[in-house]
């Protein structure tokens, strides 16, 4: 089994704004309190694009920049995996409303931003990354599928990989039919070799169905269950606590994705 190394972590969710904040909460040093905070604009996008960046692009960039902060890894050399259950539902809402108008029309900007790989495209433009990049969905299991794809990329493409998982809150009337609650995003910078500053080792496999690893804190457990990127929280909690152990994630298709986290 291949071992990967975690070189950086990013996080953004209500009450978990940035890895430094999330780390303190997940270590139990700060109580968790959900609150609505606007997602900062992407640092790496040019000013024009930065102003127009959609909420999903902002979230994806925020956690990608968070994971890269403090490492000397060049963003343009990394492969990327962007995992999102539903992509940009606010755009879906605007497009479907506009198509109901007496004179239907679709905004060209909304249309090109509606592709599931919009965040990946902007990241590639912003960083100059020209390597392999996959944008995927496995519904609630999107983070787990992203991890498996990132492992495949590390093994086969011989590249370090930035995994970004994000989902945004659907606007009404999609809220309800789409079950996603709070917006959340998580990222992991996964390298093939241990580096100075590596946080942990990570072994990923697929096993027979087992129960998922829950969060002990009730509010964090609610967050974990109601927004797909937050399925990563049990893993992030172990990274925050610098603890070795196992995490189980529900995989797409029925099997369980088993993570073995090692410390140094």
């Amino acid at each position: 089994m291949t071992t990967l190394f975690v070189a950086g972590v990013g996080c953004w969710a209500p009450g978990l704004e940035g890895w430094a904040t999330a780390r303190a909460v997940l270590r139990g040093q700060t109580p968790y309190a959900s609150r609505a905070v606007a997602v900062p604009a992407p640092e790496r996008l040019p000013a024009n694009e930065r102003r127009r960046a959609t909420i999903s692009v902002r979230l994806a960039f925020r956690v990608a920049e968070d994971a890269l902060a403090g490492t000397d890894l060049a963003a343009d050399a990394l492969a990327t995996v962007f995992a999102s259950s539903d992509g940009d539902t606010p755009i879906v809402d605007r497009v479907c409303r506009a198509l109901c108008d007496r004179l239907p029309s679709v905004s060209p900007t909304d249309f090109h931003n509606s592709v599931h790989n919009a965040a990946a495209g902007y990241w590639s433009i912003a960083t100059g990354a020209r390597g392999p990049s996959v944008s995927l969905s496995s519904g609630d299991s999107s983070f787990a599928s992203g991890l498996l794809e990132a492992m495949g990329i590390a093994i086969v493409e011989d590249r370090d990989c930035l995994l970004v998982a994000f989902d945004v809150s659907p606007p009404p009337p999609l809220r309800g039919p789409c079950r996603i609650g709070e917006p959340a995003a998580v990222s992991l910078l996964l390298t093939q070799r241990r580096r100075p500053g590596s946080l942990a080792s990570l072994r990923i496999s697929m096993v027979s169905p087992e129960l998922e690893t829950p969060m002990r804190d009730a509010a964090l457990e609610t967050l974990r269950r109601t927004t797909p990127p937050a399925r990563a929280l049990p893993l992030l909690a172990m990274l925050a606590c610098e603890a070795a152990g196992s995490v189980r994630l529900q995989g797409a298709g029925g099997r369980t994705v088993a993570l073995e986290i090692g410390t140094f």
């Binding site: 879906v92 790989n117 495209g121 433009i125 392999p132 519904g139 495949g152 797409a252």
Partner: protein
């Protein structure tokens, strides 16, 4: 890389349902494109519509009912594909057969219909099942249930390169030991979002699409479902020899005119296949029929492969099937090898003099052993696949 055998494949487009219909239409040079019915698009255009999607769904699959999943069902029923997967499932185990599908818009046509049926309070109708239709993973959840697969699965959604890139994901999952065989494919269906969206970007053709033509003016949107079963076991026949992925890092909806990203994808595919440019017998172009795409791709192909290798876009038959284009053109590439006929650039009247590549203006009988197929998408995502017959 070690060749990855394509042990079974199937294709359904406006041309017809199943491989036989496509072989016949390619031979007779008969397009599946027709004028788009009035009221479906903001301006006159042609589309590649699959006519009869009244196919019944079992009670178990009924919650997934939407145009995209009906198209998937119709596609799965062709060419004995379900039986082939049953054999693989028995051989490897349901949890050892991976499933990787591509789509760009999933079941959004259902969401469009739900918005049109909002009640006075603005709420969506109770029949609308977001997770099983609009959600991007819907088609893999549907196909996984239909084929009784329980292994690794995801949907890749990278615009018009989606169902080319699933071959790369399948290869990686196989190499990583996450599965022993894989079903790959793509499903994308006609919807107002793409008809109005491409029109807003002035990329929709006013008539039938004419890839590579001096007077080309855009795409004809099509719909399709295609699937392939990939196995690592040795055997004669057709196989994936290489793949290459790259990003333009240039613009969200316009290709890099230098062709740099496309060149990188094709070069990576050649390297992985252990082949030289001269080994390629035919290039199935992405060839959407927009002025910018065809020119940028021509620059890339001429730069890397030279100007002698026969090239064509087959979107004149099927239209641009967006997230399904990768699997559609993979299947047509396999057909070209097995049938020994290179398909022409259908609907092209006069090749744009600005293009340097050898665009096929008629079908050509030839021994075809190695084919390269390109798929490029919004966000600057590129994927090239190389197939061979051994």
């Amino acid at each position: 890389m070690k060749p990855l055998r394509v042990s079974h494949y199937t294709l359904t487009t406006a041309v017809g349902a199943g491989i036989g219909a496509h072989a016949a239409a390619l031979q007779s040079q008969t397009t599946g494109l027709r004028p788009c019915p009035a009221g479906h698009a903001p301006s006159p255009t042609w589309t590649g519509q699959v006519d009869d999607l009244s196919i019944p769904l079992t009670a178990e699959l009924a919650p997934f009912d939407c145009r995209n999943n009906r198209l998937a069902e119709l596609g799965l029923q062709q060419d004995g594909f379900i039986v082939a997967v049953e054999r693989a499932r028995a051989q490897y185990g349901a949890d050892r057969v991976g499933l990787f599908l591509g789509t760009s818009t999933s079941g959004i046509q259902q969401t469009e219909a739900a918005y049109a049926a909002r009640d006075a309070s603005g709420a969506l109708p109770s029949w609308f099942d977001f997770d099983r239709t609009q959600n991007l993973y819907s088609c893999a959840a549907f196909v996984g249930l239909r084929l009784r697969l329980e292994g690794i699965s995801h949907v890749t959604s990278t615009a018009c390169a989606s169902s080319a890139k699933v071959f790369a994901s399948a290869y990686r999952a196989l190499q990583a030991g996450l599965c022993d065989a894989a079903v790959v494919g793509g499903v994308d269906s006609l919807c107002r979002t793409t008809l109005y969206g491409f029109a807003s970007l002035q990329l929709l053709s006013s008539g039938i699409c004419r890839p590579g033509d001096a007077r080309r003016d855009g795409i004809s949107i099509g719909e399709a479902a295609g699937f392939a079963l990939l196995e690592t076991t040795p055997g004669a026949g057709v196989a994936l020899l290489g793949y290459g992925e790259s990003g333009d890092a240039h613009h969200m909806s316009t290709p890099d005119p230098s062709g740099r990203g496309a060149i990188a994808a094709m070069a990576a595919a050649l390297e992985r296949a252990g082949l030289q440019p001269a080994d390629i017998d035919y290039v199935n172009l992405h060839g959407t029929g927009t002025p910018a795409n065809d020119l940028a791709e021509d620059t890339a192909v001429a730069t890397l492969l030279g100007t002698q290798v026969p090239c064509s876009s087959t979107k004149g038959w099927t239209g641009h099937t967006l997230g399904a284009a990768g699997i559609v053109e993979a299947a047509i590439s396999l057909l070209a090898m097995q049938g020994g006929v290179l398909p022409r650039s259908l609907n092209t009247r006069v090749v744009d003099p600005a293009l340097r590549c050898a665009v096929l203006m008629d079908n050509r009988a030839a021994a075809v052993r190695t084919v390269l197929s390109n798929s490029f998408g919004f966000g600057g995502t590129n994927c090239s696949l190389i197939f061979g017959m051994r």
